[in-house]
Symmetry: C2
Subunit: 328 residues, 2 copies
């Protein structure tokens, strides 16, 4: 009986004196990478980042996506180093940056980056982000301090599809959301649960082909070990964008944009979205940016992987480099 | 029948071509004040502020509370000008600063202030805020950029009592919340409704003595005309602090604190809180700040008005001035 389990049937109320608070154990372990890692104290978080290229070249800020860390850009950084002064960061809850329970929102991620640009990069920057990092590239275009951002690349960003009540098209529930919910449930906020085997079993038995099709490894991969699964819960529950409606953000974009749109497919039976955005959602993104008076270049790459910067770094680096040459 | 009213019984679906978007009319009107008003473009918002005193003196940032604008500090500014370089601001949704529908959160209010300190004040500052502004004074102590804040005064801040699921004591529903809900309902987001008479009638007929007791004027007062009632909805619905739990913030306070606690009363029948915090809530605030390793001076002023800085500016100015002398 649940009463027995919870102790509610034991009778009376036993007042237990409070224990001294303990600092939660950080379960992360890390590996070394091709670039030296540095840190910046931004107030609430310490941000981890890597840097390459010459300060004589234009500054370029790279923002990874959900379940990725800065080193997802390692191969692209080697290609971009000749033309840019490159900074690749870990957001809060990613990589070696601070985990912030209860505080994963687009606005908090974005304001960390405003502080990073102001105190580390210290000059106008071109920004490129993938997936959630693409949303943040757009966020910076709309909401950064005046003069901080020269132009923004949005690499396959989940506009509308990562909201719970989107203006147009599939919601998070009808897109990648169930995967994030799976992570959040079986790995837990800050990996408090960490039931990798239970997660694989649940996915294999799920009615949704999306979950049954995930090729899970025997052990958690390094990128997931560095990821706070509470990110996933914040997306699934909608708190990440609750006070940052995508259409409000897009209506305030203030810089030129390069939008790349990778592989996507709408399942005819049920209408679920596989991929970051439907064509309808990508069209609405462009409409809103144009209505804001900004130039947006749209590149459809239907055979590209979601994290093209990692799967095909040359195509990614060539696109960013060519587009950046056209910026004022 | 509702089907007739909504048109759903008319048969078929009539596709209406989209109208050109129109910019919503800003319903605000303003009056002049004793200090010149200036503005700072912070990216998303233009912040309105007033300034007095000499740059040779310590910088002091004053943050008004909900339904107040910067000029609530006018009388206090005259008293503080001899000892401080004083900046009094309008937050987003207050006074002449930009209204930001859908985007009223402690984190967004706070990050506007981080930007204001970085780009306008440009040196370490003492912060004093009242009510919601007191929460933001605490927010800056916890989350501002390193070195921005020297010390913080929290004038009767609604810790815990302005959350929907507080760690301790009364929630917003058991405190001032119904007043904010009333404003939000009858005035509407951005004053879209503006039914002052309807609001008065609803308050007069409400079962809650709190609402029946409000001494509404015949016409909306200037401070409310400058206030976006969506603030009230954000507090009532809890979105303002949804991703900024008060106990998480308090555990990260990084500067000395002066906490003043004004008139408060817990109604024996029902346990409602009249005032900003119960004694229990104020005690928990102090526990958490001390556990964070910071000095907190607590001053109980049970006969003081909530906005003491306006009702009794001399007591306020004397307290702040004396306490500031003890700061490093």
């Amino acid at each position: 009986m649940s009463e027995s389990v919870s102790g509610q049937s034991q009778g009376g109320i036993a007042v237990v004196p409070p224990a001294a608070p303990t600092t939660p154990r950080d379960p992360r372990s890390f590996v070394s990478h091709a670039y030296e890692e540095r840190t910046a104290d931004l107030g609430e978080i310490v941000m981890n980042y890597a840097e390459t290229g010459s300060p004589a070249n234009p500054a370029l800020l790279l923002i990874p996506g959900q379940t990725e860390s800065w080193w997802g850009y390692e191969k692209a950084m080697a290609l971009l180093a000749a033309d840019f002064h490159v900074f690749a960061v870990d957001l809060r809850g990613q990589g070696r940056s601070t985990w912030t329970p209860g505080r994963y929102t687009l606005d908090n991620f974005g304001n960390d980056l405003v502080r990073f640009i102001a105190t580390v990069i210290k000059r106008p920057v071109i920004v490129s982000g993938c997936s959630s990092g693409g949303l943040l590239s757009a966020w910076l275009s709309a909401y950064a301090l005046p003069g901080q951002v020269r132009g923004t690349v949005w690499e396959d960003p989940p506009f509308f599809s990562s909201e719970t009540t989107p203006l147009v098209g599939q919601s998070i529930k009808q897109a990648i959301g169930p995967v994030f919910k799976l992570y959040a449930t079986y790995l837990g906020d800050q990996w408090k649960i960490g039931d990798w085997e239970g997660m694989k079993k649940a996915a294999a038995a799920d009615p949704l082909p999306l979950l049954r099709g995930i090729p899970f490894a025997a052990e958690p991969p390094q990128n997931l070990l560095e990821y706070d699964p509470e990110w996933g819960r914040a997306f699934w529950e909608g708190t990440v964008a609750r006070n940052c409606p995508h259409e409000t953000l897009l209506a305030q974009v203030k810089t030129p944009v390069l939008l790349t749109h990778h592989g996507r497919f709408v399942v005819p039976d049920g209408g679920r979205l596989l991929g970051a955005m439907s064509d309808l959602q990508a069209a609405k993104v462009q409409d809103l940016v144009k209505a804001a008076g900004q130039r947006i270049e749209y590149t459809s790459l239907p055979t590209a992987a979601h994290a093209m910067h990692n799967a095909d770094p040359k195509t990614f680096a060539d696109l960013v480099t060519a587009w950046a040459k056209g910026l004022a």
